[in-house]
C-alpha cells in the first residue's frame, strides 16, 4: 500500500514537471535588490501571457558570471559591467550584452543622535569625511554649519556600513567617490570596499540594527528599507546646492537630470546628478540581455517582456518602494530593446 502511494506520487511529480516543460521558461539570475519587483513582474506577466520566469536572486556578481557563461537567458545587476567583463562575455558568447535599466533605488543616510530634534542636513564632502574618519564628533564645525538651527551633541560618531557585498554599497561609494577626491584616492567605489573606520552589519537590517542600537551612529540603508521601517534619514545637499529629501520623485528626478548626457549603452551612474530636485545618492538596477540570442522563441518572449516592463511594469514600482524610470530613460531603453535580434533576424 505504502509502496503504491510512493509510486503514484513519483508519477504525479513527473507528469507535472513534463507539463511545466511544455511551457516556455526564461531563466535569470542576479541582483537581490530588485528581486521583489521582479517577482511581481514575472507573476503578473505570467498571468497575462503564460510565459514563465525563473529568477534566482543570487547577487549581482553571480548574475554577471552566469550571463557571461551563458547559463541563463538574462542576468541582473546593481552595478554596470566593466568594459573588460563586456569583452569577456562577447568573446565567450559571440554577442554584445545590453544593459536595460528597470527601476531605480536610492540610498539614504540614517543616524542616531540622542536629543536631536529636527532633521539632519548633510552634504557630500562632509559625509565622505565622516566615513573617512576625518570628522569624529557630531558637533564638528562642518556638520554644525549645515545645521544652523539644531544643537548637536559633543558625542563621538560611530560609522556603520554594510559588511556584505551589495549594490547599496556600490551606489553609496560611487557617490562619495564623485564628491570627494580624498575618498576616491583612499577608498574608491565597489560592492565591497576597504572601509577606513566603523562597524559592519550584514544586510540593510544589520546596518539599521547597528544604527538603532548605537548612540551617535550614522549608517546608510536602501530608501525602500528606510521607508518601510520608518527610519529617519538625513536630507542631502545636491549638485545644484539644494537640500533634497529622498523620495521616489526626487530619485526619478535624478535620472531625468542626468538623462541628457547619458551614454547610449545606459551603463551610467546617476549619483550626484544635475537638476535642482535630484536626490544625489540614486542608482539604476539593470537587466542584462544578449543583443543577439540563439533561441528565437526565447528572444521573442524576452523582448516582449522588456517592452511590457517599460510600460505597464513601471506602474508597480512605487507600491513596492522602487522609483519608476522617467520617460526620457524609458525612451532610451525602448530604443535599445528594439535592437535585440534572434540569430541576426529582427524581432517583430
Amino acid at each position: 500500500m505504502k509502496f503504491r502511494t510512493i509510486i503514484s506520487i513519483v508519477f504525479l511529480a513527473l507528469s507535472i514537471s513534463s507539463v511545466a516543460h511544455a511551457q516556455l521558461q526564461l531563466n535569470g539570475a542576479g541582483a537581490t535588490f530588485p528581486a521583489v519587483i521582479y517577482s511581481k513582474w514575472f507573476d503578473e506577466y505570467k498571468n497575462a501571457t503564460g510565459v514563465q520566469f525563473n529568477y534566482q536572486a543570487i547577487g549581482s556578481g553571480g548574475g554577471i558570471k552566469q550571463i557571461t557563461e551563458g547559463t541563463v537567458d538574462f542576468g541582473a545587476t546593481d552595478g554596470p559591467m566593466s568594459d573588460q567583463q563586456l569583452a569577456e562575455a562577447k568573446s565567450k558568447q559571440g554577442a554584445d550584452v545590453l544593459h536595460i535599466p528597470t527601476v531605480m533605488g536610492a540610498v539614504v543616510v540614517s543616524y542616531n543622535i540622542p536629543g536631536l530634534n529636527g532633521k539632519l542636513n548633510l552634504d557630500g564632502t562632509t559625509l565622505a569625511n565622516i566615513f573617512l574618519g576625518n570628522i569624529t564628533k557630531w558637533n564638528d564645525g562642518a556638520i554644525a554649519k549645515l545645521n544652523p538651527k539644531v544643537s548637536l551633541p559633543d558625542k563621538a560618531i560611530v560609522v556603520a556600513h554594510r559588511s556584505d557585498g551589495s549594490g547599496t554599497s556600490f551606489i553609496f561609494t560611487d557617490y562619495l567617490t564623485k564628491v570627494s577626491k580624498d575618498w576616491e584616492t583612499k577608498v574608491g567605489k565597489g560592492t565591497s570596499v576597504n572601509w577606513p573606520v566603523g562597524l559592519g552589519g550584514k544586510g540593510n537590517d544589520g546596518v539599521a540594527g547597528l544604527v538603532k542600537q548605537t548612540e551617535g551612529s550614522v549608517g546608510y540603508v536602501e530608501l525602500a528599507y528606510a521607508v518601510k521601517n520608518n527610519i529617519a534619514y538625513a536630507t542631502m545637499k545636491n549638485k545644484a546646492g539644494k537640500f533634497v529629501e529622498a523620495s521616489f520623485s526626487s530619485v526619478s528626478a535624478a535620472a531625468e537630470g542626468s538623462s541628457k548626457d547619458m551614454p547610449a549603452d545606459l551603463r551610467v551612474s546617476i549619483t550626484d546628478a544635475a537638476g535642482k530636485d535630484s536626490y544625489p545618492i540614486s542608482g539604476f538596477t539593470w537587466l542584462l540581455v544578449y543583443q543577439n540570442m540563439k533561441d528565437e522563441a526565447k528572444a521573442n518572449a524576452l523582448v516582449n517582456f522588456l517592452k511590457w516592463a517599460m510600460g505597464k511594469g513601471q506602474t508597480f514600482a512605487t507600491e513596492l518602494y522602487y522609483a519608476p524610470l522617467p520617460k526620457a530613460v524609458v525612451k532610451m531603453c525602448e530604443k535599445n530593446i528594439s535592437t535585440i535580434t534572434a540569430n541576426g533576424k529582427k524581432i517583430k
Binding site: 557585498g165 576597504n194 562597524l199 559592519g200 550584514k202 548605537t214
Partner: protein, 322 residues
C-alpha cells in the same frame, strides 16, 4: 564427501564467493571500504578544487596573501592576515572560556548529579547544541550586545582599562561579543560529548579508587585522567565549530578586517568574509582571493585536527607506559 569437493572445485571463483557463507561479510567489507575511501577522496577533491579556484590569487600574491593586512576589493589587493587573526583569536578565546565550564558541566552530570536532575539537565545541554546558529546571532544582537555595551565593557574599561585588551569605545559589537557567543555555542558540544566519555569510564575504576580510601574528588580526578583523550576530541570538535561558525559571528563581530589587541574593537573571521562577500564578488581575482581564503580555512582546520590526533596519540602512549 569427495564428490562434493570436486564439484565445488569446478565452480568459478565468482560462484565460490557467492556460495561461501561469508558472502555477506565480503560485500559488507567492500562496501564499507568504498565509503571510507570516498570520504578520503572527497577531502582530496575539495582541496584540489579550492586550489584550482584560487590559482589566480595564489600566483599573484604568493605568501603575501598570508602576511599582508590590507583587504581592498576596489584595488584588488588581498591580504588575509587580519582575517586569519580574527578567526584564530576568536575561536581560541572562546575555547578558553568554554573549556573549563564544559568540563565542569560534564563532571557534574556524570559524577555528582542525582539521576532525577541528570536526565533533564543532559537533555537541556543537548538541546542547546542543536539550536541553529542564526538564532544565537539574533539573541546576540538583541540581548548580548546591549548587555555588553551597557554593563560588561564599561565595567572592564573602568577596572582594567589600563590593559591594552580593554581599551576603546564600548560599541557592544566587536571581538568580545563574538568570543562570548562562540563560547556559548561551543559549550554544549564539549560538555555533552565529555559527559558521554566520562560515563563510559568503567565503574570499577571509581569503585577501586573509593575502596582504596580516595575521596570523591580524588576518584573523579582518576576518572578524568582516563577520559582525557575523549575530552580532547570533544574540545577539537568544539574548536572546529568555533572556527567555522559564520552566521552568529558575523552578526555581532563588527565585520572589519583589523588587528587590534583590544577586545572592544571590531574584527572579522574567514567564514564571515566568504559568506558576506561571495555573492557580489564580480571580478575573477576577487573570487579567487575568496576561494583562497576558504583554502586557508581548510588547511588550518586540517592542521588543528592533526595536532589534536597527535596529542591524543602521545597521551595514549604516555598513559600506557606509566
Amino acid at each position: 564427501m569427495r564428490k562434493v569437493e570436486t564439484s565445488s572445485k569446478k565452480k568459478s571463483l565468482f560462484k565460490k564467493i557467492l556460495s561461501s557463507s561469508n558472502v555477506g561479510d565480503f560485500i559488507f567489507e567492500r562496501l564499507t571500504l568504498l565509503f571510507a575511501v570516498s570520504v578520503f577522496l572527497l577531502v582530496i577533491l575539495l582541496g584540489y578544487e579550492m586550489y584550482q579556484g584560487s590559482k589566480l590569487s595564489i600566483e599573484k600574491f604568493g605568501w603575501s596573501f598570508l602576511v599582508n593586512s590590507t583587504w581592498d576589493p576596489v584595488r584588488e589587493i588581498y591580504g588575509a592576515l587580519p582575517i586569519i587573526y580574527g578567526t584564530v583569536v576568536s575561536a581560541a578565546l572562546a575555547l578558553i572560556i568554554a573549556l573549563p565550564l564544559s568540563i565542569g558541566v560534564a563532571i557534574y552530570l556524570s559524577e555528582v548529579a542525582p539521576p532525577w536532575l541528570e536526565k533533564p539537565l543532559s537533555f537541556l545541554v543537548e538541546l542547546l547544541a542543536g539550536i541553529p546558529s542564526v538564532i544565537y546571532g539574533l539573541w546576540g544582537i538583541f540581548v548580548l550586545v546591549p548587555w555588553i555595551r551597557k554593563v560588561v565593557e564599561p565595567y572592564l574599561s573602568d577596572k582594567l582599562g589600563y590593559l591594552p585588551f580593554f581599551k576603546g569605545a564600548p560599541y557592544g559589537f566587536g571581538l568580545l561579543a563574538a568570543v562570548i557567543i562562540l563560547s556559548v555555542m561551543v559549550l554544549p558540544i564539549i560538555s555533552s560529548i565529555s559527559r558521554d566519555v566520562l560515563k563510559s569510564v568503567p565503574r570499577s575504576q571509581r569503585e577501586a579508587a573509593l575502596a582504596l580510601g580516595a575521596s570523591k574528588w580524588q576518584s573523579t580526578m582518576i576518572v578524568l585522567r582516563d577520559a582525557r583523550p575523549g575530552i580532547l576530541g570533544a574540545t577539537m570538535l568544539g574548536l572546529g565549530r568555533a572556527i567555522g561558525e559564520t552566521m552568529a559571528v558575523t552578526m555581532v563581530i563588527g565585520n572589519r578586517a583589523l588587528i587590534s589587541p583590544s577586545l572592544f574593537d571590531p574584527s572579522y573571521t574567514m567564514a564571515s568574509v566568504i559568506a558576506n562577500e561571495f555573492t557580489e564578488a564580480t571580478s575573477e581575482m576577487y573570487l579567487s582571493a575568496l576561494i583562497e581564503l576558504a583554502l586557508v580555512l581548510f588547511v588550518i582546520t586540517i592542521i588543528i585536527n592533526a595536532l589534536a590526533r597527535l596529542l591524543v596519540w602521545s597521551m595514549d602512549r604516555k598513559w600506557k607506559t606509566t
